[in-house]
């Protein structure tokens, strides 16, 4: 049987893309090397708020672990920002969320094959014809979509993406713990050399009295310990009595997305396409938005499959590339700042957004104040302005 689309990777991007296509009567096959959907969870699980998610799919209470009501940033031992932000976002039960997406896809007729590693693309004189599986069998399809995460082998096989340079990866380690520590509905971030240099530590609230505590580093540096080491040091210091479960770890690409997200009849989406915010390393909303965009373009009746894929690639580029560059510039600026500089930037940024921020209503940016901030911190931004031109 030849499918309309074979999708490699049954995580958020792959499942959502598969569901959108299957809903429109595409014959879709989704493969993943994992044995279970959604597990193990390698994610801090914070994402957009209900209204933002409701634009993309029906919100189900089962996959919402906790509402987030604000943000706190602690520099070493001093709290420099603490803001209540109604409807700031939610913390997902990511495994339940992915299982929900998988169920929707199956209901619409998508086929899901777990424990099925793809090992290469197949091609003939006319182009790519499908994927080759580890057991030697093949799946033929008109479209091949790589939603296979940070390591995206599909992207590499088709020449769309290459291996990540270690400097382009956000490496993270995380525990899920039962504790009251910072368990107040806010997202807590800990920065500064006393906590973790060149990264941040997070404490996010979850359901049932749980919190996730993680440490992430921007890029790899031979001279610094690993994310897991900073995490253990933080937990030993702040939560010495708490029993630790297994440590999870993960990798997020913090590179700019490639100029083209497709080649012939192969496309990439989600982390595989580097559709991640380079400052926060968040990618769930981007993966959903990009999958929706790809599905909309693919389902349009205009042009060949390859032309529709190019249309997806261009639309993503137009809509998100500048935003990604701005966050990349901010990340580089952050990494270049000493602790005192981080404190003054955070304090000034917080005051620029004075008053409570209600994300359930359209947000009006304080442009003049932001311009003032840009001018004030121009010496720090200047070395990284070239990112905007790239």
């Amino acid at each position: 049987m030849k499918y309309d689309a074979v999708i490699v990777g049954a995580s958020v991007a792959g499942l959502y893309l598969g569901m959108r296509l299957a809903r429109n009567r595409w014959r879709v096959c989704i493969v993943d090397r994992r044995r279970e959907i959604g597990l193990p969870v390698r994610c801090a699980e914070a994402t957009g708020n209900r209204a933002e998610l409701a634009r993309l799919l029906p919100v189900d209470e089962a996959w919402i672990a906790r509402e987030v009501s604000g943000i706190s940033v602690q520099l070493n031992r001093t709290t420099v920002v603490r803001r209540d932000i109604p409807d700031a976002g939610i913390v997902l039960r990511r495994d339940t969320f992915e299982q929900y997406l998988a169920r929707l896809g199956l209901q619409h007729g998508a086929e899901l094959r777990l424990n099925t590693p793809a090992v290469g693309l197949t091609q003939d004189d006319n182009g790519y014809t499908g994927i080759r599986l580890e057991d030697g069998s093949r799946i033929e399809a008109s479209l091949i979509a790589g939603a296979d995460g940070c390591e995206s082998l599909v992207g590499r096989w088709a020449g769309i993406t290459g291996p990540l340079h270690p400097a382009e990866a956000f490496t993270a380690a995380q525990y899920t713990l039962k504790s009251d520590f910072c368990n107040d509905g806010l997202m807590h971030f800990f920065v500064g050399a006393g906590n973790i240099p060149r990264g941040y530590i997070w404490v996010f609230p979850k359901a049932d009295g749980l919190i996730s505590v993680g440490a992430g580093l921007y890029g790899c540096n031979h001279d610094l310990p690993k994310a897991g080491w900073y995490l253990d040091r933080f937990v030993s210091s702040h939560l010495p009595e708490v029993k630790r479960g297994p440590k999870s770890a993960g990798c997020v690409p913090i590179a700019l997305c490639p100029h083209a997200l497709c080649r012939k009849n192969v496309m990439v989406v989600g982390d595989a396409a580097r559709q991640v915010n380079p400052l926060t390393a968040g990618g769930i909303m981007n993966a959903l938005e990009a999958s929706l965009l790809a599905a909309e373009k693919l389902l349009s009746s205009r042009g060949s499959l390859e032309a529709r894929l190019r249309s997806y690639s261009k639309a993503w580029y137009r809509r998100f590339r500048l935003e990604q560059k701005v966050f990349m510039m901010l990340k580089e600026t952050y990494l270049g700042l000493p602790d005192a500089g981080i404190e003054s930037v955070l304090t000034a940024a917080s005051s620029a957004f004075s008053g409570s921020v209600d994300r359930s209503r359209p947000f009006i940016f304080p442009y003049l104040r932001l311009l003032g901030l840009g001018i004030r911190f121009l010496p720090h931004l200047r070395p990284h302005l070239r990112i905007l031109a790239g």
Binding site: N115, S152, L153, P163, A169, A172, P246, G250, C251
Partner: protein, 62 residues
């Protein structure tokens, strides 16, 4: 023989090492991670691993 090896008792199978390997020399499964003979010893996996599960094979040149 690969220049690096993965300690299965420490590895979380996050596939980060595979993401940065320029030769696709790391094979990852749910509960197994292995560096194959395609390894050229560049050390990206060693440099990368968030939980220090990748170690240099003793006797190999740095």
């Amino acid at each position: 023989m690969p220049a690096f090896t993965i300690d299965q008792s420490v590895c979380t199978f996050c596939a980060g090492c595979s993401s940065v390997c320029p030769r696709q020399a790391v094979m990852i499964r749910d509960d197994c991670a292995e560096i194959t003979d395609a390894c050229t010893g560049c050390g990206h996996c060693f440099q990368f691993c968030p939980v220090s599960a990748v170690t240099r094979v003793e006797g190999d040149a740095p």
